[in-house]
């Protein structure tokens, strides 16, 4: 503790520190502006959005935009669907990734490196390319219009990223632990479930966030694979608020707020956890 304080004291050159603070705060404002913009946008009419009042506070606070987003736009249901699909996708992706990473990094076998590289191929694949082939397969299996229609492809597309992050965390866990477990009579499975998986908790929030980013706003698959509005997710629902030749942008803004604000709150909650887990990890490492 003592050392720690000395080290903070030593680095501080007040002038530079203040300057850095000012820059950090300005940058924070730049990054907060979109949220303000989105919020005011959601309360305006087309007239204000296009030309009259683009970034000011709304002259007329149109809360009715929210009513129409919720009622005619059905955002409540879509929000629920999105949460469900995203949560399950992330869960499956994390589970599959942890198991795969365990086999790739903590069991010694010849093709481990190659298999790992094979999984990393997934980072390079553009989503658009696989829509039609996947769709044809899903349709042959009569597997369209379910939640799982989206959950499975989403977890597949987030898998590579999850394995990558897991690998980073898993190689940091000392190998002595495996051995101790072995001596205690744990098999590979026992070691994985009892020792390794619990230690990967810090990785969960990181993977969670990055996987979330890929699932929550995904549009292409959701648009093509889901045809009944019961299972529709937010991005498709929001897009469906615009018409062929006429678009009322206010309710779209409201729908975007509905889609984004809860995630921002969850994120703020999660980001604390991430930092905590990092600090915890740093002490041990």
């Amino acid at each position: 503790m003592q050392l720690e304080e000395r080290y903070t004291l030593k680095k501080s050159n007040p002038a530079i520190k203040v300057l850095v603070y000012i820059l950090l705060v300005i940058w924070a404002f730049i990054n907060l502006f979109p949220i303000y913009f989105m919020f005011t946008f959601s309360l305006k009419s087309n007239e204000e959005i296009f030309g009259k009042n683009i970034i000011g506070l709304p002259k007329e606070w149109l809360w009715s935009n929210y009513v129409s987003a919720m009622k005619t736009g059905n955002m409540g249901l879509y929000f629920f669907n999105s949460v469900l699909v995203t949560v399950f996708s992330i869960a499956i992706s994390i589970m599959a990734a942890m198991m795969a990473t365990y086999a790739l990094t903590r069991i010694k076998w010849k093709a481990a490196g190659f298999t790992n590289a094979f999984f990393m191929l997934g980072l390079t694949i553009p989503l658009q390319a696989s829509i039609v082939p996947v769709y044809v397969v899903l349709s042959k299996l009569h597997w369209l219009n379910h939640y799982s229609t989206l959950i499975i492809p989403y977890s597949a597309f987030t898998l590579s990223m999850s394995i990558l992050i897991c690998t980073g965390f898993m190689v940091d866990i000392p190998y002595d632990l495996d051995e101790a477990a072995r001596i205690d009579g744990c098999g590979l499975w026992g070691t994985f479930f009892r020792i390794i998986a619990p230690l990967l908790k810090p990785a969960l929030s990181t993977i969670g966030i990055y996987a979330f980013l890929q699932c929550w706003n995904e549009f292409m698959f959701a648009n093509v694979f889901i045809s009944d509005s019961k299972h529709r997710t937010l991005p498709v629902g929001i897009k469906a608020l615009s018409g062929q030749h006429t678009t009322d942008w206010g309710p779209i803004g409201a729908a975007l707020v509905i889609a984004t604000f809860p995630t921002l709150l969850v994120y703020i909650f999660l980001s604390r956890k991430i930092q905590d887990s990092f600090i915890a990890g740093a002490v041990k490492g």
Partner: protein
Amino acid sequence: MAENKTIQTKKSHKDFRKGLDIFLFLLPAILLFVGILIAPIIVSVYRSFQDWNGFSEGTFIGFENYKELFTNGSIKWMVALKNALILAFFSVFVQLPISLLLALLLGRKYKGERFFLSVYFMPVLISTVVIGQLWLKIYNPDYGLLNTALDALHLSDFKHVWVGEVETALGSVIVPTVWQYIGYHMLLMYAGVKGVSPDLREAAMIDGATNWQVDRYVVIPIIKPVIRTSVIFAVTGSLKTYDLVRILTEGGPFQTTEVPSTLLENMLFLRNRYGMGSTISVMLILLCFAFSLAISAAFKEKD
């Protein structure tokens, strides 16, 4: 090490047992991966040798699509590729340094570190639709913030139809794209920075190193694997960039801001040239993979 030896001396059925375990551990991932990602790519490779509109019978035409992609100027493949590479350049040499700087600063235990960290990541969480609309308001030629500001500063000569003119359109797409994902890389790097043991910092500080020196000679070398990952993400992400281009310029004016993904979508779903679309996606995958390998190799060489 010891584990290795013991396993080697065990009997063959133990080896089989281990193989089975490895297989079972990998099974869920392999099923997902091969079923959803690899199989469609194989289909794409097959289709890339065909002239196929997506619903009728396709005809096999060998490498004609690949040839046409590079020789037919009206497809704009070279333009798209060039744009993606320019974007990748800006990502690596503008976006990542800013991310790294922020990660290092925040790693120094500034007051409000958590607040800044959360705020800087927020643009990543916000839908691209919102980001796109916001930047359209900034770029709008009549009442946009940028032109209004230029007027106010008596710099009216510098006013442009930002997303509509050939000279400025690409830049207008690059700025928001680079900006939006600064937080994304910052979080990755911050994780690395925080992973550096405080003892190492201490030791360096006691030896009289300044903060910058510590960052340069202690922290950055340690988080190099994270930086490598970020570079790979930045480059492959740039090659696959799509959303903001669609919203801000639609690939225009005169298709000068097309990127591979917009071309891909045009071919698949607007022009009904599924074969050519598959060709583009195969090229895109190859490019991404080649760049990932090259970047990994470059980082290894430096070690």
